[in-house]
Amino acid sequence: MIISLNHYLVLAALLFSIGVAGVLTRRNAIIIFASIELMMNAVNLAFVAFARHWGDVGGQIFVFFIIAVAAAEVAVGLAIIVVLFRHRETVNIDKVNLLKW
Amino acid sequence: MIPTSLTPYLPLLISVIYTAGVVGFVFLFVLFANWWERKVSAHMQDRLGPMETGGWHGWAQALADAIKLLLKEDIIPAAADRKLFKLAPYVVFTGSLAGFAVIPFGAGLIGTDLNIGLFYVVAVSSMVVIGILMAGWASNNKWALYGAMRSAAQMVSYEIPVALSLLIPVIMTGSLSMQEIVAAQEGGFWHWFVFRSAPFSLIAFVIYFWASLAEVNRTPFDIPEADSELVAGYFTEYSGMRFAMFFLAEYGNMFIVSAIAATVFLGGWQPLLPALDFIPGPIWFVGKAMFLVFIQMWLRWTLPRLRVDQLMHVCWKIFMPFAFANLMLVGLWQVLVQ
Protein backbone atom coordinates (compact mmCIF):
# COMPACT_ATOMS: atom_id res chain seq x y z
CA MET A 1 0.00 0.00 0.00
CA ILE A 2 1.45 3.32 -1.07
CA ILE A 3 0.42 6.26 1.06
CA SER A 4 -0.59 9.19 -1.08
CA LEU A 5 -2.18 12.60 -0.68
CA ASN A 6 -5.69 11.15 -0.60
CA HIS A 7 -5.03 9.10 2.51
CA TYR A 8 -3.88 12.15 4.39
CA LEU A 9 -6.83 14.17 3.13
CA VAL A 10 -9.31 11.52 4.22
CA LEU A 11 -7.69 11.41 7.66
CA ALA A 12 -7.85 15.21 7.85
CA ALA A 13 -11.52 15.16 6.81
CA LEU A 14 -12.34 12.59 9.50
CA LEU A 15 -10.55 14.58 12.20
CA PHE A 16 -12.30 17.74 11.05
CA SER A 17 -15.70 16.04 11.22
CA ILE A 18 -14.94 14.77 14.72
CA GLY A 19 -14.17 18.36 15.70
CA VAL A 20 -17.46 19.57 14.16
CA ALA A 21 -19.36 16.87 16.05
CA GLY A 22 -17.66 17.98 19.27
CA VAL A 23 -18.59 21.63 18.79
CA LEU A 24 -22.19 20.75 17.97
CA THR A 25 -22.81 18.20 20.70
CA ARG A 26 -20.89 19.37 23.76
CA ARG A 27 -21.90 22.24 26.05
CA ASN A 28 -18.73 22.67 28.10
CA ALA A 29 -16.95 25.73 26.72
CA ILE A 30 -13.49 24.21 27.28
CA ILE A 31 -14.35 21.03 25.37
CA ILE A 32 -15.84 23.09 22.54
CA PHE A 33 -12.57 24.99 22.46
CA ALA A 34 -10.64 21.72 22.36
CA SER A 35 -12.81 20.57 19.44
CA ILE A 36 -11.98 23.77 17.55
CA GLU A 37 -8.30 23.02 18.08
CA LEU A 38 -8.95 19.55 16.67
CA MET A 39 -10.47 21.09 13.54
CA MET A 40 -7.51 23.43 13.16
CA ASN A 41 -5.18 20.46 13.37
CA ALA A 42 -7.08 18.64 10.67
CA VAL A 43 -6.62 21.69 8.45
CA ASN A 44 -2.91 21.82 9.34
CA LEU A 45 -2.54 18.18 8.37
CA ALA A 46 -4.18 18.84 5.01
CA PHE A 47 -1.89 21.84 4.42
CA VAL A 48 1.25 19.88 5.18
CA ALA A 49 0.08 16.97 3.01
CA PHE A 50 -0.49 19.38 0.11
CA ALA A 51 2.93 20.93 0.71
CA ARG A 52 4.44 17.46 0.44
CA HIS A 53 2.41 16.64 -2.65
CA TRP A 54 3.32 19.74 -4.64
CA GLY A 55 6.80 20.02 -3.18
CA ASP A 56 6.08 23.59 -2.13
CA VAL A 57 7.03 24.87 1.31
CA GLY A 58 4.17 27.40 1.23
CA GLY A 59 1.76 24.95 2.86
CA GLN A 60 4.07 24.54 5.82
CA ILE A 61 4.34 28.32 6.19
CA PHE A 62 0.57 28.47 6.38
CA VAL A 63 0.61 25.92 9.19
CA PHE A 64 3.13 28.12 10.98
CA PHE A 65 0.72 31.05 10.77
CA ILE A 66 -2.25 28.92 11.80
CA ILE A 67 -0.37 27.85 14.91
CA ALA A 68 0.47 31.49 15.70
CA VAL A 69 -3.17 32.51 15.25
CA ALA A 70 -4.28 29.54 17.37
CA ALA A 71 -1.97 30.65 20.17
CA ALA A 72 -3.43 34.18 20.16
CA GLU A 73 -6.95 32.80 19.91
CA VAL A 74 -6.49 30.40 22.82
CA ALA A 75 -4.99 33.09 25.04
CA VAL A 76 -7.93 35.44 24.49
CA GLY A 77 -10.54 32.66 24.44
CA LEU A 78 -9.42 31.13 27.70
CA ALA A 79 -9.30 34.61 29.27
CA ILE A 80 -12.92 35.06 28.20
CA ILE A 81 -13.82 31.71 29.74
CA VAL A 82 -12.11 32.68 33.00
CA VAL A 83 -13.99 35.99 33.13
CA LEU A 84 -17.23 34.21 32.26
CA PHE A 85 -16.69 31.75 35.08
CA ARG A 86 -16.03 34.55 37.55
CA HIS A 87 -19.29 36.23 36.68
CA ARG A 88 -21.65 33.30 36.19
CA GLU A 89 -20.05 30.33 37.99
CA THR A 90 -20.56 28.15 34.94
CA VAL A 91 -18.87 27.18 31.69
CA ASN A 92 -21.99 25.62 30.21
CA ILE A 93 -22.65 27.73 27.15
CA ASP A 94 -26.39 27.06 27.27
CA LYS A 95 -26.49 29.03 30.53
CA VAL A 96 -24.76 32.00 28.91
CA ASN A 97 -27.73 33.42 27.04
CA LEU A 98 -27.82 37.03 28.13
CA LEU A 99 -27.56 38.35 24.58
CA LYS A 100 -30.02 35.83 23.19
CA TRP A 101 -33.54 36.96 22.41
CA MET B 1 32.15 -13.47 10.78
CA ILE B 2 28.62 -12.09 10.53
CA PRO B 3 26.48 -14.05 8.06
CA THR B 4 25.60 -11.95 5.00
CA SER B 5 21.90 -12.70 5.44
CA LEU B 6 22.01 -10.70 8.67
CA THR B 7 23.71 -7.58 7.29
CA PRO B 8 20.44 -5.70 6.56
CA TYR B 9 19.62 -5.97 10.24
CA LEU B 10 23.00 -4.68 11.38
CA PRO B 11 21.98 -0.99 11.66
CA LEU B 12 18.93 -2.04 13.64
CA LEU B 13 21.09 -4.14 15.95
CA ILE B 14 23.54 -1.29 16.44
CA SER B 15 20.77 1.16 17.30
CA VAL B 16 19.22 -1.31 19.75
CA ILE B 17 22.59 -1.76 21.45
CA TYR B 18 23.18 2.00 21.50
CA THR B 19 19.74 2.65 22.99
CA ALA B 20 20.31 0.01 25.67
CA GLY B 21 23.69 1.60 26.39
CA VAL B 22 22.19 5.07 26.77
CA VAL B 23 19.42 3.81 29.06
CA GLY B 24 22.04 1.99 31.12
CA PHE B 25 24.09 5.16 31.25
CA VAL B 26 21.08 7.14 32.50
CA PHE B 27 20.48 4.63 35.31
CA LEU B 28 24.15 4.61 36.28
CA PHE B 29 24.28 8.39 36.18
CA VAL B 30 21.22 8.69 38.40
CA LEU B 31 22.67 6.25 40.94
CA PHE B 32 25.99 8.06 40.91
CA ALA B 33 24.48 11.56 41.02
CA ASN B 34 22.29 10.59 43.94
CA TRP B 35 25.28 9.45 45.96
CA TRP B 36 27.37 12.38 44.77
CA GLU B 37 24.75 14.94 45.68
CA ARG B 38 24.63 13.56 49.21
CA LYS B 39 28.37 13.70 49.46
CA VAL B 40 28.60 17.21 48.01
CA SER B 41 25.87 18.56 50.27
CA ALA B 42 27.35 16.81 53.30
CA HIS B 43 30.83 18.21 52.74
CA MET B 44 29.47 21.70 52.14
CA GLN B 45 27.80 21.51 55.54
CA ASP B 46 30.91 20.05 57.16
CA ARG B 47 29.37 16.59 57.49
CA LEU B 48 30.51 13.29 56.01
CA GLY B 49 27.32 12.05 54.36
CA PRO B 50 26.75 8.34 53.76
CA MET B 51 29.76 6.39 55.06
CA GLU B 52 28.47 2.94 56.02
CA THR B 53 26.68 1.20 53.13
CA GLY B 54 28.98 -0.82 50.93
CA GLY B 55 32.22 0.14 52.64
CA TRP B 56 34.27 2.85 50.93
CA HIS B 57 32.56 6.23 51.57
CA GLY B 58 29.16 4.58 51.45
CA TRP B 59 29.32 3.98 47.69
CA ALA B 60 26.38 1.56 47.72
CA GLN B 61 23.97 3.97 49.40
CA ALA B 62 22.21 4.89 46.15
CA LEU B 63 21.96 1.22 45.20
CA ALA B 64 20.39 0.40 48.56
CA ASP B 65 17.94 3.27 48.11
CA ALA B 66 17.00 2.04 44.65
CA ILE B 67 16.31 -1.46 45.99
CA LYS B 68 14.28 0.01 48.84
CA LEU B 69 12.15 2.01 46.39
CA LEU B 70 11.57 -1.05 44.21
CA LEU B 71 10.42 -3.14 47.15
CA LYS B 72 8.15 -0.50 48.67
CA GLU B 73 4.38 -0.89 48.63
CA ASP B 74 2.73 0.87 45.72
CA ILE B 75 0.17 3.22 47.26
CA ILE B 76 -2.48 5.02 45.24
CA PRO B 77 -4.52 7.52 47.27
CA ALA B 78 -8.22 6.64 47.49
CA ALA B 79 -9.33 10.01 46.12
CA ALA B 80 -6.86 10.01 43.24
CA ASP B 81 -7.73 9.74 39.57
CA ARG B 82 -6.23 6.27 39.22
CA LYS B 83 -5.56 6.18 35.47
CA LEU B 84 -3.90 9.58 35.32
CA PHE B 85 -2.03 8.89 38.54
CA LYS B 86 -0.50 5.77 37.01
CA LEU B 87 0.21 7.35 33.64
CA ALA B 88 1.88 10.58 34.81
CA PRO B 89 5.30 9.16 35.87
CA TYR B 90 5.68 7.48 32.48
CA VAL B 91 4.94 10.70 30.58
CA VAL B 92 7.52 12.60 32.64
CA PHE B 93 10.11 9.84 32.32
CA THR B 94 9.57 9.44 28.55
CA GLY B 95 9.90 13.16 28.02
CA SER B 96 13.18 13.12 29.87
CA LEU B 97 14.60 10.01 28.22
CA ALA B 98 13.60 11.08 24.69
CA GLY B 99 16.02 13.99 24.92
CA PHE B 100 18.96 11.58 25.09
CA ALA B 101 18.34 10.57 21.46
CA VAL B 102 20.17 13.62 20.15
CA ILE B 103 22.85 14.07 22.83
CA PRO B 104 26.24 13.71 21.07
CA PHE B 105 28.45 11.64 23.37
CA GLY B 106 31.28 11.38 20.87
CA ALA B 107 32.33 11.75 17.24
CA GLY B 108 29.96 9.04 15.97
CA LEU B 109 28.20 8.41 19.24
CA ILE B 110 24.79 9.98 18.81
CA GLY B 111 21.38 8.33 18.73
CA THR B 112 20.30 10.20 15.65
CA ASP B 113 21.80 13.41 14.32
CA LEU B 114 18.52 15.14 13.46
CA ASN B 115 18.82 18.30 11.42
CA ILE B 116 16.53 19.95 13.98
CA GLY B 117 18.42 18.38 16.90
CA LEU B 118 18.48 21.27 19.35
CA PHE B 119 14.88 22.13 18.57
CA TYR B 120 13.87 18.52 19.17
CA VAL B 121 15.25 18.63 22.71
CA VAL B 122 13.25 21.78 23.46
CA ALA B 123 10.15 20.08 22.02
CA VAL B 124 10.37 16.84 24.00
CA SER B 125 11.25 18.63 27.21
CA SER B 126 8.08 20.70 26.86
CA MET B 127 6.10 17.45 27.06
CA VAL B 128 7.35 16.99 30.64
CA VAL B 129 5.11 19.88 31.75
CA ILE B 130 2.02 17.91 30.70
CA GLY B 131 3.15 14.93 32.79
CA ILE B 132 3.79 17.14 35.81
CA LEU B 133 0.35 18.73 35.53
CA MET B 134 -1.18 15.25 35.23
CA ALA B 135 0.64 14.09 38.36
CA GLY B 136 -0.38 17.13 40.37
CA TRP B 137 -3.98 16.95 39.27
CA ALA B 138 -4.41 13.19 39.63
CA SER B 139 -3.02 13.14 43.18
CA ASN B 140 -6.03 15.15 44.37
CA ASN B 141 -3.89 16.81 47.01
CA LYS B 142 -3.53 20.53 47.40
CA TRP B 143 0.24 20.49 47.82
CA ALA B 144 0.61 18.41 44.69
CA LEU B 145 -1.68 20.70 42.71
CA TYR B 146 0.12 23.84 43.92
CA GLY B 147 3.43 22.26 43.00
CA ALA B 148 2.20 21.27 39.55
CA MET B 149 0.76 24.72 38.82
CA ARG B 150 3.93 26.45 39.97
CA SER B 151 6.01 24.05 37.94
CA ALA B 152 3.97 24.52 34.79
CA ALA B 153 4.07 28.31 35.05
CA GLN B 154 7.81 28.24 35.70
CA MET B 155 8.73 25.79 32.95
CA VAL B 156 6.60 27.45 30.28
CA SER B 157 8.04 30.89 31.15
CA TYR B 158 11.66 29.82 31.36
CA GLU B 159 11.48 27.92 28.08
CA ILE B 160 11.64 31.27 26.26
CA PRO B 161 14.98 32.52 27.65
CA VAL B 162 16.37 29.00 27.23
CA ALA B 163 15.36 28.86 23.57
CA LEU B 164 16.55 32.42 22.88
CA SER B 165 19.98 31.81 24.34
CA LEU B 166 20.31 28.46 22.57
CA LEU B 167 19.71 30.32 19.30
CA ILE B 168 23.01 32.19 19.65
CA PRO B 169 25.30 29.19 19.01
CA VAL B 170 22.81 28.17 16.31
CA ILE B 171 23.30 31.53 14.59
CA MET B 172 27.06 31.18 14.90
CA THR B 173 27.03 27.66 13.44
CA GLY B 174 24.23 28.04 10.95
CA SER B 175 22.78 24.67 11.88
CA LEU B 176 20.56 23.06 14.50
CA SER B 177 22.28 19.69 14.21
CA MET B 178 24.13 18.78 17.40
CA GLN B 179 27.13 17.26 15.64
CA GLU B 180 27.57 20.27 13.36
CA ILE B 181 27.45 22.61 16.36
CA VAL B 182 30.17 20.52 18.04
CA ALA B 183 32.23 20.37 14.86
CA ALA B 184 32.12 24.18 14.57
CA GLN B 185 33.95 24.46 17.90
CA GLU B 186 36.95 22.37 16.96
CA GLY B 187 40.49 23.16 18.15
CA GLY B 188 41.10 24.26 21.73
CA PHE B 189 38.92 25.96 24.29
CA TRP B 190 39.29 29.42 22.71
CA HIS B 191 37.18 28.11 19.83
CA TRP B 192 34.32 27.13 22.13
CA PHE B 193 31.22 29.21 21.71
CA VAL B 194 31.35 30.57 25.28
CA PHE B 195 34.56 32.40 24.47
CA ARG B 196 33.91 33.18 20.82
CA SER B 197 32.20 36.49 19.96
CA ALA B 198 32.31 37.27 23.66
CA PRO B 199 30.59 38.85 25.54
CA PHE B 200 27.39 37.84 23.70
CA SER B 201 27.82 34.10 23.92
CA LEU B 202 29.08 34.37 27.49
CA ILE B 203 25.88 36.20 28.45
CA ALA B 204 23.88 33.60 26.53
CA PHE B 205 25.65 30.81 28.41
CA VAL B 206 24.95 32.43 31.78
CA ILE B 207 21.27 33.03 30.90
CA TYR B 208 20.93 29.48 29.58
CA PHE B 209 22.46 27.99 32.69
CA TRP B 210 20.25 29.93 35.12
CA ALA B 211 17.09 29.43 33.09
CA SER B 212 17.83 25.72 32.73
CA LEU B 213 18.03 25.48 36.52
CA ALA B 214 14.45 26.71 36.52
CA GLU B 215 13.53 24.20 33.79
CA VAL B 216 14.69 21.30 35.95
CA ASN B 217 13.28 22.78 39.18
CA ARG B 218 16.61 23.05 40.96
CA THR B 219 17.51 25.55 43.66
CA PRO B 220 17.23 28.56 43.62
CA PHE B 221 14.19 27.91 41.42
CA ASP B 222 12.85 24.90 43.29
CA ILE B 223 9.59 26.47 44.43
CA PRO B 224 7.48 23.76 42.71
CA GLU B 225 8.85 21.18 45.11
CA ALA B 226 9.86 23.43 47.97
CA ASP B 227 9.99 20.88 50.77
CA SER B 228 9.54 23.40 53.56
CA GLU B 229 6.24 24.74 52.22
CA LEU B 230 4.81 22.17 49.77
CA VAL B 231 6.03 18.85 51.26
CA ALA B 232 7.41 17.64 47.91
CA GLY B 233 5.33 19.41 45.27
CA TYR B 234 3.71 17.46 42.49
CA PHE B 235 4.99 14.04 43.58
CA THR B 236 3.92 14.33 47.21
CA GLU B 237 1.55 11.37 46.92
CA TYR B 238 3.89 9.12 44.98
CA SER B 239 5.85 6.33 46.57
CA GLY B 240 7.88 3.28 45.59
CA MET B 241 8.53 2.65 41.93
CA ARG B 242 6.42 5.57 40.69
CA PHE B 243 8.41 7.95 42.85
CA ALA B 244 11.58 6.40 41.44
CA MET B 245 10.38 7.26 37.93
CA PHE B 246 10.06 10.93 38.86
CA PHE B 247 13.44 10.77 40.51
CA LEU B 248 15.01 9.25 37.39
CA ALA B 249 13.38 11.89 35.20
CA GLU B 250 14.56 14.68 37.47
CA TYR B 251 18.19 13.59 37.48
CA GLY B 252 18.01 12.67 33.79
CA ASN B 253 16.87 16.23 33.08
CA MET B 254 19.74 17.59 35.16
CA PHE B 255 22.11 15.71 32.92
CA ILE B 256 20.32 16.72 29.71
CA VAL B 257 20.42 20.46 30.41
CA SER B 258 24.09 20.19 31.40
CA ALA B 259 24.86 18.07 28.33
CA ILE B 260 23.20 20.63 26.05
CA ALA B 261 25.16 23.45 27.70
CA ALA B 262 28.32 21.39 27.22
CA THR B 263 27.44 20.68 23.58
CA VAL B 264 26.50 24.13 22.39
CA PHE B 265 28.71 26.31 24.57
CA LEU B 266 31.60 24.20 25.83
CA GLY B 267 32.67 22.37 22.69
CA GLY B 268 30.87 19.07 23.26
CA TRP B 269 33.27 16.17 22.99
CA GLN B 270 36.16 18.34 21.77
CA PRO B 271 39.21 18.31 24.06
CA LEU B 272 40.30 21.33 26.08
CA LEU B 273 43.52 21.66 24.07
CA PRO B 274 44.20 20.05 20.69
CA ALA B 275 47.21 18.28 22.30
CA LEU B 276 44.91 16.46 24.70
CA ASP B 277 42.97 14.60 22.00
CA PHE B 278 44.39 11.22 23.08
CA ILE B 279 41.69 11.25 25.76
CA PRO B 280 38.53 9.93 24.03
CA GLY B 281 35.68 12.32 23.22
CA PRO B 282 33.00 10.68 25.40
CA ILE B 283 35.17 11.23 28.48
CA TRP B 284 35.51 14.92 27.68
CA PHE B 285 31.82 15.22 27.04
CA VAL B 286 30.66 13.44 30.19
CA GLY B 287 33.32 15.28 32.18
CA LYS B 288 32.08 18.69 31.03
CA ALA B 289 28.47 17.73 31.67
CA MET B 290 29.32 16.36 35.10
CA PHE B 291 31.15 19.57 35.95
CA LEU B 292 27.97 21.54 35.20
CA VAL B 293 25.94 19.05 37.25
CA PHE B 294 28.37 19.68 40.10
CA ILE B 295 27.78 23.43 39.79
CA GLN B 296 24.05 22.78 40.01
CA MET B 297 24.59 20.89 43.27
CA TRP B 298 26.93 23.56 44.55
CA LEU B 299 24.33 26.27 43.91
CA ARG B 300 21.73 24.22 45.76
CA TRP B 301 23.64 24.58 49.01
CA THR B 302 24.67 28.17 48.42
CA LEU B 303 21.59 30.12 47.39
CA PRO B 304 18.22 30.61 49.10
CA ARG B 305 14.98 29.86 47.28
CA LEU B 306 13.22 32.59 45.31
CA ARG B 307 9.61 33.63 45.91
CA VAL B 308 7.09 33.08 43.11
CA ASP B 309 6.87 36.77 42.22
CA GLN B 310 10.67 37.10 42.23
CA LEU B 311 10.88 34.07 39.96
CA MET B 312 8.55 35.61 37.40
CA HIS B 313 10.28 38.98 37.74
CA VAL B 314 13.67 37.42 36.99
CA CYS B 315 12.34 35.56 33.97
CA TRP B 316 10.22 38.18 32.24
CA LYS B 317 11.96 41.40 33.24
CA ILE B 318 15.63 40.41 33.41
CA PHE B 319 16.39 37.28 31.40
CA MET B 320 13.98 37.97 28.56
CA PRO B 321 15.16 41.51 27.59
CA PHE B 322 18.79 40.51 27.96
CA ALA B 323 18.31 37.38 25.86
CA PHE B 324 16.48 39.35 23.15
CA ALA B 325 19.06 42.14 23.02
CA ASN B 326 21.79 39.54 22.99
CA LEU B 327 20.19 37.72 20.08
CA MET B 328 19.88 40.90 18.04
CA LEU B 329 23.47 41.94 18.76
CA VAL B 330 24.78 38.51 17.75
CA GLY B 331 22.81 38.73 14.51
CA LEU B 332 24.34 42.16 13.86
CA TRP B 333 27.81 40.86 14.75
CA GLN B 334 27.48 37.93 12.36
CA VAL B 335 26.35 40.24 9.54
CA LEU B 336 29.20 42.70 10.17
CA VAL B 337 31.91 40.04 10.50
CA GLN B 338 30.98 38.20 7.34
Partner: protein
Protein backbone atom coordinates in the same frame (compact mmCIF):
# COMPACT_ATOMS: atom_id res chain seq x y z
CA UNK C 1 6.85 0.48 6.70
CA UNK C 2 5.49 3.91 5.83
CA UNK C 3 1.99 2.50 5.36
CA UNK C 4 2.19 0.74 8.71
CA UNK C 5 3.16 3.88 10.58
CA UNK C 6 0.58 5.94 8.73
CA UNK C 7 -2.19 3.49 9.63
CA UNK C 8 -1.04 3.27 13.23
CA UNK C 9 -0.91 7.06 13.65
CA UNK C 10 -4.21 7.51 11.80
CA UNK C 11 -6.00 4.98 14.01
CA UNK C 12 -4.54 6.44 17.21
CA UNK C 13 -5.33 10.02 16.20
CA UNK C 14 -8.91 9.22 15.22
CA UNK C 15 -9.43 7.22 18.40
CA UNK C 16 -8.06 9.99 20.60
CA UNK C 17 -9.99 12.58 18.57
CA UNK C 18 -13.18 10.67 19.33
CA UNK C 19 -12.21 10.47 22.99
CA UNK C 20 -11.77 14.26 23.05
CA UNK C 21 -15.46 14.73 22.32
CA UNK C 22 -16.74 11.67 24.20
CA UNK C 23 -15.00 12.12 27.55
CA UNK C 24 -17.13 13.54 30.30
CA UNK C 25 -14.31 15.16 32.23
CA UNK C 26 -12.67 18.15 30.52
CA UNK C 27 -9.21 17.23 31.84
CA UNK C 28 -9.31 13.79 30.19
CA UNK C 29 -10.64 15.39 27.03
CA UNK C 30 -7.77 17.88 26.87
CA UNK C 31 -5.21 15.12 27.57
CA UNK C 32 -6.60 13.10 24.67
CA UNK C 33 -6.27 16.22 22.53
CA UNK C 34 -2.57 16.29 23.45
CA UNK C 35 -2.30 12.70 22.18
CA UNK C 36 -3.97 13.69 18.91
CA UNK C 37 -1.60 16.64 18.51
CA UNK C 38 1.44 14.44 19.06
CA UNK C 39 0.14 11.96 16.46
CA UNK C 40 -0.40 14.78 13.97
CA UNK C 41 3.13 16.01 14.71
CA UNK C 42 4.44 12.53 13.92
CA UNK C 43 2.49 12.61 10.63
CA UNK C 44 4.17 15.96 9.88
CA UNK C 45 7.54 14.27 10.28
CA UNK C 46 6.43 11.59 7.81
CA UNK C 47 5.38 14.37 5.40
CA UNK C 48 8.95 15.76 5.57
CA UNK C 49 8.05 18.74 7.73
CA UNK C 50 10.22 18.15 10.82
CA UNK C 51 10.45 21.85 11.67
CA UNK C 52 6.69 22.30 11.66
CA UNK C 53 6.36 19.10 13.70
CA UNK C 54 8.70 20.50 16.36
CA UNK C 55 6.77 23.80 16.34
CA UNK C 56 3.55 21.83 16.74
CA UNK C 57 4.87 19.98 19.77
CA UNK C 58 6.41 23.06 21.39
CA UNK C 59 3.58 25.53 20.81
CA UNK C 60 0.52 23.29 20.74
CA UNK C 61 1.32 20.46 23.10
CA UNK C 62 3.79 22.35 25.26
CA UNK C 63 2.16 25.75 25.60
CA UNK C 64 -1.45 25.87 24.40
CA UNK C 65 -2.48 22.61 26.02
CA UNK C 66 -0.69 23.57 29.23
CA UNK C 67 -2.75 26.77 29.20
CA UNK C 68 -5.92 24.67 28.82
CA UNK C 69 -4.96 22.42 31.73
CA UNK C 70 -3.93 25.44 33.75
CA UNK C 71 -7.34 27.09 33.35
CA UNK C 72 -9.16 23.81 34.08
CA UNK C 73 -7.20 23.34 37.28
CA UNK C 74 -7.36 27.01 38.28
CA UNK C 75 -11.15 27.10 38.05
CA UNK C 76 -11.51 23.50 39.23
CA UNK C 77 -13.94 22.88 36.36
CA UNK C 78 -14.00 19.15 36.98
CA UNK C 79 -17.12 19.71 39.11
CA UNK C 80 -19.13 20.89 36.13
CA UNK C 81 -19.98 17.73 34.25
CA UNK C 82 -23.77 18.02 34.42
CA UNK C 83 -25.46 19.03 31.21
CA UNK C 84 -22.42 17.96 29.25
CA UNK C 85 -24.40 17.24 26.12
CA UNK C 86 -26.30 19.67 24.00
CA UNK C 87 -30.02 19.42 23.28
CA UNK C 88 -29.07 19.20 19.61
CA UNK C 89 -26.90 16.17 20.19
CA UNK C 90 -28.40 13.97 17.48
CA UNK C 91 -28.53 16.82 14.99
CA UNK C 92 -24.88 17.55 15.70
CA UNK C 93 -23.80 13.96 15.11
CA UNK C 94 -25.86 13.78 11.90
CA UNK C 95 -24.38 17.04 10.60
CA UNK C 96 -20.84 15.85 11.34
CA UNK C 97 -21.48 12.47 9.71
CA UNK C 98 -22.93 14.12 6.61
CA UNK C 99 -19.91 16.42 6.49
CA UNK C 100 -17.54 13.45 6.70
CA UNK C 101 -19.41 11.52 3.97
CA UNK C 102 -19.66 14.54 1.65
CA UNK C 103 -15.96 15.33 2.07
CA UNK C 104 -15.04 11.72 1.36
CA UNK C 105 -17.26 11.70 -1.75
CA UNK C 106 -15.77 14.98 -2.93
CA UNK C 107 -12.28 13.59 -2.47
CA UNK C 108 -13.26 10.63 -4.61
CA UNK C 109 -14.97 12.78 -7.23
CA UNK C 110 -12.19 15.32 -7.69
CA UNK C 111 -9.49 13.65 -9.76
CA UNK C 112 -6.44 14.44 -7.70
CA UNK C 113 -3.29 13.99 -9.76
CA UNK C 114 -1.20 10.91 -9.10
CA UNK C 115 -3.13 8.47 -6.99
CA UNK C 116 0.00 6.52 -6.20
CA UNK C 117 2.50 8.33 -4.05
CA UNK C 118 3.26 12.01 -4.02
CA UNK C 119 3.63 14.15 -7.09
CA UNK C 120 7.02 15.70 -6.52
CA UNK C 121 10.05 14.74 -4.49
CA UNK C 122 11.69 17.94 -3.31
CA UNK C 123 14.89 17.39 -1.36
CA UNK C 124 15.14 19.55 1.75
CA UNK C 125 11.46 20.46 1.57
CA UNK C 126 10.66 21.07 5.23
CA UNK C 127 14.15 21.88 6.46
CA UNK C 128 14.71 24.85 8.75
CA UNK C 129 16.54 26.58 5.91
CA UNK C 130 13.70 26.24 3.40
CA UNK C 131 11.01 27.27 5.88
CA UNK C 132 13.10 30.17 7.18
CA UNK C 133 13.97 31.52 3.74
CA UNK C 134 10.38 31.37 2.61
CA UNK C 135 9.13 32.91 5.84
CA UNK C 136 11.47 35.89 5.78
CA UNK C 137 11.26 36.70 2.08
CA UNK C 138 7.99 35.72 0.48
CA UNK C 139 5.87 35.75 3.64
CA UNK C 140 7.54 38.60 5.52
CA UNK C 141 4.44 40.80 5.69
CA UNK C 142 2.15 38.04 7.05
CA UNK C 143 4.90 37.24 9.55
CA UNK C 144 4.91 40.80 10.85
CA UNK C 145 1.12 40.86 10.93
CA UNK C 146 1.13 37.60 12.91
CA UNK C 147 3.45 39.20 15.46
CA UNK C 148 1.03 42.11 15.83
CA UNK C 149 -1.81 39.64 16.25
CA UNK C 150 0.10 37.89 19.03
CA UNK C 151 0.77 41.23 20.73
CA UNK C 152 -2.94 42.04 20.53
CA UNK C 153 -3.66 38.57 21.96
CA UNK C 154 -1.34 39.15 24.91
CA UNK C 155 -2.82 42.56 25.69
CA UNK C 156 -6.37 41.24 25.28
CA UNK C 157 -5.75 38.30 27.61
CA UNK C 158 -4.16 40.53 30.26
CA UNK C 159 -6.95 43.11 30.16
CA UNK C 160 -9.72 40.49 30.17
CA UNK C 161 -8.41 38.46 33.05
CA UNK C 162 -7.40 41.40 35.24
CA UNK C 163 -9.56 41.66 38.35
CA UNK C 164 -11.31 45.01 38.53
CA UNK C 165 -11.31 46.60 41.99
Amino acid sequence: MEAFFFLLLAVVSIFSGLMVILQKSPVASVLFLVLTLVCVAALFVMLSAPFIAAIQVIIYAGAIMVLFLFVLMLLNLQRFTEGAWSRFQITGVVVAAVLAVVTALLLRAVPLPADSGFLRETPGLGSVEAVGLSLFTEYLLPFEIASFLLLAGIIGAVILSRRRP
